[in-house]
Symmetry: C2
Subunit: 144 residues, 2 copies
DNA sequence: CTAAGTGTACTAGATGAAATAATACAGTTA
DNA sequence: TAACTGTATTATTTCATCTAGTACACTTAG
């Protein structure tokens, strides 16, 4: 379910947040569904419980999760809506990234094609070349 | 020339690298041209010389710069080519980013439009030193 | 030659984020 | 009661970044 890269520059707790968000957006996890317990996931991933909780509490703060002491953590009802709204900011990042690509002299067609592929295969993830012309994805070290 | 954000999560030396790359790609800095000295830039930006040198030595290692002891640092002849080749990897980042946008239910048209805007106005960044069509700088990129 | 500039190298220290470790407390449930 | 759950706290470690200070070798203008 989770794929943590301890060598990544991106903090572990952020990787958990990001992957959990992706699971919600992709519909794998649905509202009301219970997510792995803090301790359970810490054992499964061989990660300190505090790190898991840091991710969970942050998601709870954002309203994505609903933490219930004694019971567990559950996907919030409006999790998908909240995440979708935030993703709109990624359009700016997309434009900025595309500017660098444009400056490098890469054909616009190639950038457009990348977007087309993304919309054709939205569910393809890092370790999961889901169906596509996606080329070898090597390193994701650089998050900038 | 440079615009450093000390509060950004992105290390200062990386910001320098990134902005210098951008200056080369946009044609503001040309091959053979001398860049600010380590000490000079450190004073101008109120940054420790070691930090500047860390950025320069990394760019030298990549072949973007050519450091000449006693003289200065100069833009390498094939700097633009090297950078352009590397930018090709950004196509993968673009696709990954677009996948998240797709999952959020944002119309493909909006993503395509963002790319179109980028190609229409490649020179539009934090610094924008008189390179191309100078336009309103409202883009305030969210660290990275 | 001198002086001021250049890149480079080195050690040392400060700082902050991230992760670990070890407890502890309170609520839920079989 | 026992085993789970989330939550909180403190201390410690680790690491990257940045700063500070010094030093050396080179180039160039005077």
């Amino acid at each position: 379910m989770f794929n943590i890269d301890g060598m990544s520059r991106q903090p572990v707790y952020e990787q958990i947040i990001q992957q959990l968000e992706r699971l919600v957006l992709s519909g794998v996890m649905k509202p009301g569904e219970q997510i792995p317990s803090v301790r359970g996931l810490s054992v499964q991933l061989s990660i300190n419980p505090n790190t898991i909780q840091k991710a969970y509490s942050e998601l709870d703060r954002r309203g994505i999760l609903c933490s219930v002491p004694g019971k567990g953590c559950f996907i919030s009802d409006n999790a998908h809506i909240l995440l979708a709204e935030n993703r709109r900011k990624d359009l700016d990042k997309l434009e900025e990234l595309a500017r660098g690509i444009a400056l490098a002299g890469i054909e616009k067609r190639e950038a457009i094609d990348a977007v087309e592929r993304a919309y054709q295969n939205p569910h393809a993830a890092e370790g999961n070349p889901g169906g596509g012309q996606t080329q070898a994805i090597e390193e994701r070290r650089e998050n900038g």
